[in-house]
Symmetry: C2
Subunit: 273 residues, 2 copies
């Protein structure tokens, strides 16, 4: 099953557009897991078990594992999802890109070493820097288009000679020549719903990964109005801090499960409306 098929099936089965970001920061984790041999893995495992019936995908953020010397716990986390919830796709959020021979090594990292179903990548170096990812037709390649951070405007909103912004140029490339294996999705931040709407218009039913709700302030109503595809799906709406750090007590997983379900329901209320 390809990433795209797996995502479609997960949308259908879960009835949820929620993506839970697994961004475990030891400094923010509940005391009750801190003493474990693999605290990050134990934390993730509990979060996963509590949220699995309310999500369409998981998105571990590579930086949190790399920065805390915990690559082994990233591998353990993804293996745990594959074993226990094989129907839920896993996106390795790594924002990679380099010259071809080097990207081929990053593809090994994302798809072989860590067994991701999809990876996030950066378009600045052009298509040949993404090709070793794109050549994996069964994997998803999620390209940064309009990101959720304020500084994105310095590059992505810059107007080109043809009057279009840079992020629209990326959206067009990603929808046409770059998408030769039909395995591309795009990142479109919730914090800029008009840009998200413009991206939806040129990409048809391409899936969009939407960061920026919760801590970053994105508005769910505006995301839903601008982002749904023609089937009423098409979105992976990410929440990290808003789900995994709701409680720092022993009930942290239960609280995360509740937050994931509430987010699913809040989103779905707009879907039905």
């Amino acid at each position: 099953m390809t990433f795209m098929e797996k995502l479609e099936a997960a949308w259908k089965k879960s009835g949820s557009l929620v993506c839970v970001g697994l961004d475990p920061d030891l400094a923010k984790m509940p005391d009750c897991v801190k003493g474990a041999k693999y605290p990050i893995f134990e934390f993730n495992k509990a979060i996963i078990d509590a949220t699995a019936d309310a999500v369409c995908c998981y998105k571990p953020q590579a930086a949190y594992y790399a920065g805390q010397d915990a690559d082994d716990q990233l591998a353990m986390t993804i293996a745990y999802i594959k074993e226990n919830y094989p129907e839920i796709p896993v996106i390795l959020d790594a924002k990679r890109a380099d010259i071809g021979a080097t990207t081929a090594m990053y593809a090994k990292e994302a798809f072989e070493r860590f067994q991701g179903d999809a990876v996030t990548v950066n378009p600045y170096m052009g298509m040949d820097a993404l090709k070793p990812f794109l050549d994996h037709a069964d994997k998803g390649v999620i390209i940064l288009c309009r990101t959720s951070n304020p500084g994105a405007k310095e590059i992505q909103d810059i107007k080109l000679e043809n009057g279009e912004e840079m992020f629209m140029h990326v959206a067009r490339l990603a929808s046409t020549t770059w998408n030769y294996n039909k395995n591309i999705a795009l990142v479109a931040g919730a914090t800029f719903p008009e840009q998200l709407g413009a991206i939806r218009k040129v990409t048809g039913d391409m899936p969009l990964l939407v960061p920026g709700i919760g801590a970053q302030g994105g508005d769910i109503a505006a995301v839903m109005k601008n982002g749904l595809d023609s089937n009423g799906n098409g979105l992976m709406i990410n929440s990290s801090r808003g789900i995994i750090y709701v409680s720092k007590g022993e009930d942290f997983a239960e609280a995360a499960g509740k937050a994931a379900k509430e987010l699913r329901d809040t989103i779905n209320a707009y879907r039905k409306a």
Copy 2:
């Protein structure tokens, strides 16, 4: 000592503009190191000892370690340089960038876990996505500007509304508002020497990391004509495959040493001319 001071001192002491790229691919390594417990580290160690008197910096490429589950050997490699050649700066080539809280984790990866003196980063997400790197005033932050790969033209050469290309827009931001700690350098590929010259014109004496000679076909004469700073330095001219894989025999390190010295001398002949 800051990265910039260390680089200046290394240019002076070594009389070399050569950067050796440590991109060890197990499939391409000599048989004589393959049996070692840490083959990548043993390979790097021998290359480093053979080239240290002919280089101004080393640049391990993170992807080769991540893709081959060899992060420990990356740490060992950088620690070896720090211990034995503390005067030579080490650039972790990682091309990172993400929202601020995540980039802070990447800064821990690059500067604490792996002890890099500098890191390469991607500008697509704007300045706030680089800030946790830039805030380390003592570290170098080397921003992709005009990369050496053919596909770079799809994004970086796109003309903006003001008539300038995207890479020139990045060069200007990197030379002004983004450079509040005077710790920025730029990547400018050898394969596009005119663009490299345009970057030099707007960046003054900012150091430029120049990939693309050797296997990628960049022309040293054109790089030297367009890239030197006002002191006749200003460049870190990278070679990876052209130095580390010259021989696959037991003389691989000796051959690498010879290749590094030849490259230094070829470059310096243009410097004196």
